[in-house]
Structures are given as structure tokens and as C-alpha cells.
Symmetry: C2
Subunit: 212 residues, 2 copies
Amino acid sequence: MKLNQNGLLIVLSGPSGVGKGTVRKALFESEGHNFTYSISMTTRSPRVGEVEGSDYYFVSKEEFEQRIKDGKFLEYAEFVGNYYGTPIDKVEQNIEEGREVVLEIEVEGARQVKQKKPDAVFIFIAPPSFEALHDRLRRRGTEKAEVIKERLDKARRELMLINDYDYIVINDDVNNAADRIRAIIRAEHARTKRSAEGYIELLEESNHDNTK
Amino acid sequence: MKLNQNGLLIVLSGPSGVGKGTVRKALFESEGHNFTYSISMTTRSPRVGEVEGSDYYFVSKEEFEQRIKDGKFLEYAEFVGNYYGTPIDKVEQNIEEGREVVLEIEVEGARQVKQKKPDAVFIFIAPPSFEALHDRLRRRGTEKAEVIKERLDKARRELMLINDYDYIVINDDVNNAADRIRAIIRAEHARTKRSAEGYIELLEESNHDNTK
């Protein structure tokens, strides 16, 4: 019996190289899941094969900046001269339609979401050790030593923000991590703050039927 | 990877007749579980076959009242002239030894535990409807109509306290309810407030090893 018909907004964040993407992928391979992700809006040009509304929403810089002013992003960032952001309206629509919206974003983006949606579920995907993070960044093979060092330093700073999150999930094994996140989502649906109102309504209905 | 080695204190409560006992039993039938329950202390006389330290701790009324004064109970109540209580020391010992201590208690007892252990996990086992609760109380067969009416009235009052609980688990099906509680326990272990400290320690150790 489901008490709240709305989906949850689930924010997966954590340092670069921790494996947020693979954990998110494992989560979306769950049987009978009800997860959806949010399509980002960007000002960069579509690459060959990219489809509007499926890969990204492509807009002009002017439109993006107007949307920032209008508070229409859950979070946004500038990267190599282009904007990337999460449109708030699509997220809200999915939640109201009962889907669990999973955002896999950087720590700075998560900070922005926390300000707009403090009731979202904030999960910090954490490395089992700095060495493991170092290994992962190195194994990507595309990064130079100084870039790796920079990322590790950034990861150290990001770990200071861990107390802003509701949960810590260590990515020691991707399936374990996904399992833990599934348990968290199940538990969050049972939280009194999300379900008490729905439960009381349910009882009142059953009570009403009773006195007919 | 487990971040906090301590067990949790899990309080299962809810109205009389909701099926707390059967849910607790299903929980204890989980594979590879690490649950333990707390043995109550009482001033009533042992019945034939009851074993001290296994069924109850049997003490005199004087000893029980001294223990109340010394704050040695997580919760206690008087019932038909006898005291029943949960000794705090055994609970703490089990938690420190890494066991999940499950207390299946009345709403008034849960209120007392909340004052002493606000960090415990408070789960309200809720009936799917008043009708279902009525049916369960009637099916017990031992209770007279006016006793059933009294219990339903009490259940209505107890439902007002639902917001003091962390979670609401509807006992629509005992195995579903036990599953949800298992997910809640798993999620609670990942909560930042319980695991951040352990995680930071872990990282510092791995960092230390790294620089050797």
C-alpha cells in the first residue's frame, strides 16, 4: 500500500571519479523500477546524432540567461563557455506523475538543489578510500597527472560538505551501492514526513465508509 | 563496507491489535539477521517453566522502584499491579556489540524511549484501516465488545502521535511490512548522522597508509 503517490527527487552526487554514472546506470537496470532522469538544457550546439528533447534541450544563451533570472533551473553551471542546467518544471511534472527522478550531478549542483528542494533525498556517493579514487581517475587514462591531483584536492574539499547530505553510500561495489540506494528510496517513502498526511486521509476515508 | 559498527535501537510500536508481534516475528525470521530483542524486567512471579534471564528478569517491587529512581529503564509500565520494564544497560550493551535491538512496545512506552534515546529508529506499525483493526481485535475472540470499543478509541488517540515517529509502516501484509522495515534499517545505517564520523575516520586511515 503506497501512502504518497508522488515520486521522490533523488540527488546522487559525490566527487569526480567516484563512479556516480555507473551507480546510476545500475540503478536504472533494477527490475520494475520507476526511475527517470532529467534531461538537461544547454547552450552548446547539438552534436551529430543528438536529438532535441531526448539528449538535451538546446536553447540560445539569451534564453538560458532569461531562465536563470526567472528561477527556472533546479541547478545550473557554466562549463567551457556553455551553460548546462536542470529545468525545474520537467522535474516537478515527473514527481507529480509518481516517478522517482534521479539527478546525477556535481557537488556544487547538489548544493543549489538543496536550496530549492530541501525535501529531496541527498545521497553522497563516496569512494572507499582516496587511493581508490586516485586509481579510478588514473584508469580513465585521459587525464594528466596534474589534472588528477587537482581532482583529488577538489574531492577532499567536497568531502567537507558530506554533512549536507542525508545518506552516505560507499561505492565499494556498484551493485551493493545500487542495492543500498534502492533500500534508501523504499525507506524514504515510509518516512512520516512524507506519508503521515496520506495515511490520515486514507483512514478518514475508511472511517467514512464504515459509518455509511 | 559498514561505516558504523554499532547496532541500531529499533522501536516498533502502534495500536493494540495492529499485529506488532507478528511483524516482529517475521523480521526475526529474516535470513542472516542480526536482530535481538530485549528481555524485560518484571515484578510479577515467574510462571511454571519461565526462566530467569531468558523469559524475564524477575525482581522485587522494591528493587524495581529503586531502578526507576536510578533511571535504569528505557521505559516501564504498571499492568494489573505489576511492573514491566526494559533495562537500559542490556540494550546499550547489545548495540555496542553491533546487534540491532528491536523493541516491540506500546505507544506510551515508545514515548518514554523517545525521551531517553531520541536517535533510535521509531517505526509506527499502522493498520490499513480502522475496519481492519476492528476485525483483528474481534478475531482474537477473547475480548468483549466494550473492550474492543475501548481499544479502538485508544487506537484513534494513539494515531494522533504518529508524527513523533520516523516511519509509518502499514501492516497490510506481514511480509511486506517486514520487508519495508528491513529496507528502513539498511537505509538508517547509511544516514549521514550515523555514518559521517566513521567514514571520515576510514578515509584518514587510508590516507595515512598512503603516505607511509
